[in-house]
Amino acid sequence: MALRLNLYHEIERDKRAKSRDPLKLGILAVLFAGAGMLSYYFWQLGVLRGVEQDYRLTRAQFEELVPKAEAAKKSEQEWANVVKAKERLLERMEERFYWAPFLAQVSRVVEGDVQITKLSGEVQAAKIRRCNIAVEGVAAGHDPRKTAEQLRVAIRDELQTRFRVVNATFRTLEESPTPASINGKIQGTALFQIQIQVASGEEAPPKPPTRKKR
């Protein structure tokens, strides 16, 4: 077995000791960590620049849009008023009570043995157009009361073709001592007053029932 002598063992030991020097290793570790931290810092700085750019764009958009939206909201109120005025006007035009067709309907059912002496009516200003009309006149015939009744029913039936609600009732019906001559025949007469109520338009839908608290 050959004998091997290391005459540099002291120099090598010093070298090994130097390479394991904790100070040197520490400095290397600190430098490495420092480089990593700086890289991370610059990366985050880049991210911040991006976020700042987004923020600037968002802010610019906000500053451009919000005043426009506020101005639009103010104008919207004016426009809403214009639309409301138009709707209200059209509503008024469409829902008004037309007297001419009403008079035509009434005159259509008045026979020769009836004379209308007065007709007066009033429309109530509401969503449901209710109209109260009083028709006064003289009915003649063998049975003048029956003639007046036939007129009342005829008026009611005729008006029901146009109006949603129709009521026709006698306010007064009494025989008159004054006879009338119809086609040369003297006949008895009756004075009548018929009260007519008609309604048109749509009623507001009923409110939904509220649940009682227990």
């Binding site: 420092g34 700085l45 700042e52 939206a69 214009v82 035009m93 429309v123």
Partner: protein
């Protein structure tokens, strides 16, 4: 490996320095950057719904503007239906012309009142009392139909037709009407 006294001291100093550097890095360099990022992101998140709401409001306003434009056209057409000037100057002659029939007396039209219309801005509600002392029922009915159709903003609120005592074939008519007139 055994550290000498001097080396331990140097290591302790290096460690302290490293800690100080780490603290300074996180507190003085990275900290403000991260805080700034969070603050900016928070601001963006706060602005986003406001921008969205503003966009919606603008879109809604555009729709309303379109509707208002068509409503304005309709209102302009309606406004053209009534002549300019004081109603009392032009309405009574219109009534007289409308109910002028053979054998009828002149229509008497009286201005009863004039109030601003509450529900429709820019319009006045003008009330009239109209008297037709002598008319013939059937020609009156025709004239009334034409009158109602040619005055869409007018509504007759009450009407009374009564036979004339002195001329049995004629009637006397009283009407009260309300007219919406643009100011």
């Amino acid at each position: 490996m055994k550290l000498g006294k001097e080396e331990t001291k140097r290591l302790f100093l290096a460690g302290t320095f490293a800690l100080a550097v780490v603290y300074a890095f996180f507190n003085g360099l990275l900290g403000p950057v991260l805080r700034d990022q969070v603050a900016k992101r928070k601001s963006i998140a706060e602005l986003a719904p406001q921008i969205q709401a503003a966009k919606l409001a603008l879109a809604k306003a555009q729709e309303s503007e379109k509707a208002a434009q068509s409503a304005k056209d309709v209102l302009a057409q309606i406004a053209q239906m009534t002549p300019h000037g004081a109603p009392v100057a032009w309405f009574p002659p219109q009534v007289a012309a409308a109910f002028k029939t053979e054998g009828s007396d002149k229509a008497l039209t009286r201005l009863v009142g004039e109030t601003p219309e509450k529900e429709i801005a820019g319009y006045d509600r003008v009330s009239w009392a109209i008297e037709l002392p002598r008319i013939e029922f059937f020609s009156f009915g025709q004239a009334l139909a034409e009158f109602e159709n040619s005055h869409p903003l007018l509504e007759i609120y009450s009407l009374s037709i009564e036979g004339n005592r002195e001329a049995a074939e004629t009637q006397r008519v009283l009407m009260s009407a309300q007219h919406l007139i643009k100011k």
